[in-house]
Symmetry: C2
Subunit: 320 residues, 2 copies
């Protein structure tokens, strides 16, 4: 990690720069894929899955047999953890529901805010280096609580044409029954235009790599809403002398391991703390299953010493 001591204000913008992404050359690919999927539907999805995921599929839909097999292969420990998370997330989202407030602005004129479920939504769940079943919980539970009637989940298959069992188990637990084995740009295109296997939806949710992000942005031009254009994972931790350096290091690594383009930053008013965290990061990194990814992300990352809390807060506010 790069250590930076009390940087001059004019340098802040440069120091806080994110790792660059080149979007322009992705857009052309996205537009081509969108055009093809709009034209050829499932056939086109299968072609792209073969090209990008290296697997040829007969059926894009996950079968009930695959769901049953997944249910058997997930350990009870993991099932219990997922169920506990579901209970907590459900409790949280339920409590955010609001009552209708009717205001009479003039005699006979009643105004209120109406909250209705979006009828058809899609959840995009990345495959790749980690099965994000947590994302299914965080997207699927509010969708169900809101009352969305049609929820489709798209996730890329692995080289054997399979989806990670934990993803299938979690989706089923959340009541999501339509699971399509398709990822990347082609998945977003499918949800935007609809194909034989994927219904056309009104809003697409979920994270993804830069291809998925650009595809989601292009989708908005075709009349589909998106949650947001998700960037790479990033985290900024502020710690003074009272922090536990081991916890701080774990927090930083928890996001750094998301992807090689992740960025984590520690801002501290204590040079001692910065030294301790740096050692802890090195130590914990050695044992991390995803250390190759985290290591690369750590290269984008920074330890910044600021002399006092006020200037630290100013710097942090620059990191928009």
């Amino acid at each position: 990690m790069n250590k930076i001591v009390n940087p001059d204000r004019v340098e802040w913008k440069d120091i806080l720069k994110r790792p660059t992404q080149t979007v322009a050359d992705i857009e052309e690919t996205v537009n081509t894929v969108f055009l093809q999927v709009k034209k050829d539907g499932d056939a086109s999805l299968k072609r792209y899955t073969e090209k990008f995921d290296g697997v040829s599929l007969d059926s894009l839909l996950v079968s009930t047999r695959e769901v049953d097999e997944a249910n058997e292969s997930v350990s009870n420990d993991l099932k219990n953890a997922i169920q506990l998370a579901k209970k907590n997330i459900e409790q949280f989202h339920k409590s955010q529901r609001t009552e209708r407030v009717v205001v009479t602005t003039a005699p006979g004129v009643e105004c209120w805010q109406e909250k209705r479920p979006i009828q058809k939504v899609a959840l995009y769940i990345p495959g790749g280096t980690a099965p994000l079943f947590s994302t299914i919980l965080m997207l699927g539970i509010p969708a169900k609580l809101a009352g969305c009637t049609e929820i489709v989940l798209c996730t890329p298959p692995n080289k054997e044409g399979k989806v990670n069992p934990a993803i299938l188990y979690t989706a089923t637990l959340c009541g999501i029954t339509k699971i399509v084995k398709v990822g990347g740009i082609q998945a977003i295109a499918g949800m935007t235009f609809g194909t034989e296997s994927i219904p056309q939806v009104y809003k697409i949710f979920g994270p993804g790599n830069q291809y998925v992000t650009v595809a989601k942005q292009i989708a908005t031009k075709h009349g589909v809403a998106i949650d947001m254009p998700a960037g790479p994972s990033e985290l900024l931790v502020f710690a003074d002398d009272s922090a536990n350096p081991s916890f701080v290091a774990s927090d930083l690594l928890s996001q750094a391991e998301h992807g090689v383009d992740s960025q984590v930053i520690l801002v501290s008013t204590s040079e001692t703390m910065i030294g301790k965290v740096e050692l802890e990061v090195e130590k914990q990194l050695a044992d991390l299953p995803r250390k190759d990814i985290a290591k690369k992300a750590i290269e984008n990352s920074k330890l910044i010493y600021m002399p006092d809390k006020d200037s630290a807060a100013d710097l942090i506010n620059e990191y928009e």
Copy 2:
């Protein structure tokens, strides 16, 4: 208006098509303007204002003198109407504020949803054929209630380099003091990158023509959030035999007069009602100050007879 009687389900998609917009050729212009404004700031804004709005400005900022003059020129009747609207809109938005709900999911783990104001926001208020001071109320009031600390308003000047007095009066009434005379793509670019006159903001709100809409979509690629890509105004009214045809016609015309690309649709289970509304539209159109615009929009518009409420509801749901 085109009258359509009980159309076959396979025709619905075609019938409900919106007037086409060609986005592709706008994008190039938007990218060019963005590049220039990022590079040259105010100088570039002034050049584009001269080119697109046909007026050369010394200062882009509205002066306090201009605000004072506007305050004097707006009639008391209009002021009272704006103040009444402000009171009503304020009452409505205040009542939508929610309390913080804290949930304890496990001992020591407290979760809540945190709602905070966006520090720097921009409101885009179209000029052109109508001064949308109503939009200032509907955007500025919630921004103020939320506690946004920096609110900038951009609106195009007329050929004399002036902004409509009602816009200046309403903005000032809402506590918005930074008003910039710039519109179109260049305004969105200015709010995205910041210039000498316009602060860079985190989120851009407000309607606009197709150039503004595409510019807002491009802005999201540069890290700025937008409310939504606003399309042309449209309205679908469902009326059975119990409706007042004069009210229905007024409702349709109220949106048709927004722009030549607006679209209004009447769906009715009564052919008599459709006939009556058609006559009323003709009659009211003759007296409309904006009849030239409304007339063009009416050409895009449709009167659709459906034999029963169920099929009418199905058709309406197709109009997404």
